[in-house]
Each structure stands twice: as structure tokens, then as C-alpha cells.
């Protein structure tokens, strides 16, 4: 993989990001990343993009009122978190 053809990186980047890559392809890719700042930035910012969305999702919760309606509809109101002794 040379620097004139960085788009080659994209063919393996998905497996690389998911840790599901053949060892020899991984070695070639990491060699390329060591010498190519642009590709390194793309990989780093892709990783960061994924982690930002993942972290944001963990914080997005169903509103309390909606949860209460759900438990009521399912006849589980006595199990609604925060209402049991």
C-alpha cells in the first residue's frame, strides 16, 4: 500500500476498526498509517466519531413519564423502578 493510493486503506478500514482483520493486512495497514498522516487522522477521527456516538447513546434514556405508561400498559406498575420497597 503506497501513499499514492490511500483509498486502498478504505477497503480494510472497516475490519480494522472492528478488530476483525487478517494479521498480514493489519501489519501492512499499520505500516501505512505510521507513514501517512492523513490516513492516520482519518482513522483516529473515525474512531472518535464512533466513541462519541456510543457515549451519547448510553446517556439517552426513555423519559420517566413514558416509562411509567409502559409499565402501566404491561400491567407491571408494581415493578416500576423506584416504586418498590
Amino acid at each position: 500500500m503506497d501513499h499514492d493510493n490511500c483509498s486502498e486503506l478504505l477497503k480494510s478500514i472497516e475490519d480494522y476498526l472492528d478488530g476483525d482483520i487478517q494479521p498480514e493486512v493489519c501489519t501492512r495497514l499499520e505500516e501505512h498509517l505510521r507513514g501517512c498522516q492523513n490516513c492516520r487522522i482519518v482513522v483516529d477521527t473515525l474512531r472518535k466519531t464512533i466513541s462519541l456516538y456510543h457515549d451519547e447513546a448510553c446517556q439517552e434514556m426513555m423519559p420517566d413519564k413514558m416509562r411509567e405508561h409502559l409499565y402501566m400498559e404491561l400491567n407491571l406498575l408494581d415493578y416500576l423502578p423506584g416504586t418498590r420497597e
Binding site: 466519531t49 439517552e60 420517566d64
Partner: protein, 199 residues
């Protein structure tokens, strides 16, 4: 009430017996992800609420026949996605097929903007403006890409599980995931370039 839900192994036998405590544990564990899936597809709390209720009613009715060929999460998310997509179709009055091919025009996925914003302070603090930008970017994704991205990168499903939920091949999931990730990276890079120029 809205604290992080601790995941524990759900006892399938108890669920099938209709044990209310176990059913409640199931709802507690999966209601937030089902809420996020419904909101991401429908963008309306009112519509999402109907879909969440419908999803768990179907889960409760279907649990006796659940054979465990997929994980419980995969099965529940598949019901939620199908319910939400059907609601979208009813609302829009048109059909959007989740397994339709995506046009991946040549060169379309190549990153254009190169700027290293990983260590910017607003990334660390994830301020309100960045969150708004992230929400706008993900809402702007084509539905077929958005659902794949959500299940894999936001709800932590594997490629295989995401494919099972959506009835796609692993390779279709990977293609859509890469496209979604690259579009979102590009959007965030634009945003950070804009904030740099404004400083």
C-alpha cells in the same frame, strides 16, 4: 429513576412461565434501547411511545414461542425495528425497504476533509452544541444507513446480530456501516473546522 441499567442474564424459562419479576427485568433492560431505536426511526416521542408499547406487548405474547435461535436482544430489536418501520410507512404512505440496495457511487466514500479534532476540548466535554450537531448529522443519514449505525455502534450489536435484526447479509451491514461512519466523520470534521474559524 433514569440511572444506567445494569445488565443481568434474563432467565428465559422464567419468562416463558410468565414470571412477572423476570418480565419486568426484561423491560428494564431493553426499554432504553427500544426507545432509542424508535426515536431514531420516527423522530417523535408520541409515535415512539406507541411503538415501544407495541413492541413489548408482542414480546410478551411471543416469548413462549421464542426458540433462542438468535439472542433475546436481536429478537426484541427486530420486533422494534419492524414496528417502527411499519409506522413510518403508514405515516409517509410509501414503502421504504430496509434491504434495498444503496447507491455507493464510485469515490463517494472517500474522506474529503482532513483535520485532527480528536483532542479538541469540546470533544472531551461533549458540550450541548456538539451534541446538537451530532444529532443533526445522524438524523441526516439515509434511514438504511442510520439503522445499521445505531444497532452496531450505538447499541453494541455485532455485525452478525445487526444483520439478523435487519435481515441483511454481513457484507451489506459492513458496507452500510462504513458509509454511515464516514459520512458522520465528515460532518463532524466540517463542524470542527467551522468552530476553529470562528475562534
Amino acid at each position: 429513576m433514569n440511572s444506567t441499567v445494569t445488565k443481568r442474564e434474563i432467565d428465559l424459562d422464567l419468562l416463558k412461565q410468565g414470571n412477572r419479576g423476570e418480565l419486568a427485568a426484561l423491560v428494564e433492560q431493553f426499554s432504553n434501547p427500544v426507545y432509542r431505536i424508535a426515536m431514531n426511526i420516527l423522530h417523535s416521542e408520541q409515535d415512539a411511545e406507541d411503538i415501544i408499547q407495541e413492541t413489548f406487548i408482542k414480546v410478551f405474547h411471543g416469548i413462549r414461542n421464542f426458540e433462542g435461535r438468535s439472542s433475546l436482544a436481536t429478537w426484541i430489536y427486530r420486533i422494534a425495528v419492524n414496528e417502527a418501520l411499519m409506522a413510518t410507512r403508514r405515516r409517509k404512505g410509501n414503502l421504504v425497504s430496509i434491504d434495498a440496495e444503496i447507491d455507493m457511487g464510485e469515490g463517494e466514500t472517500n474522506p474529503v476533509e482532513i483535520e485532527d479534532w480528536c483532542c479538541r476540548p469540546e470533544v472531551e466535554t461533549m458540550d450541548a452544541e456538539l451534541r446538537r450537531e451530532m444529532d443533526k448529522a445522524v438524523a441526516g443519514l439515509p434511514e438504511k444507513l442510520r439503522i445499521v449505525f445505531q444497532l452496531r455502534d450505538m447499541e453494541d450489536l455485532s455485525i452478525r446480530e445487526t444483520a439478523q435484526v435487519l435481515g441483511l447479509t454481513d457484507s451489506a451491514v459492513k458496507t452500510r456501516l462504513l458509509r454511515a461512519r464516514l459520512i458522520l466523520r465528515e460532518e463532524l470534521t466540517h463542524y470542527f473546522q467551522g468552530t476553529s474559524q470562528g475562534q
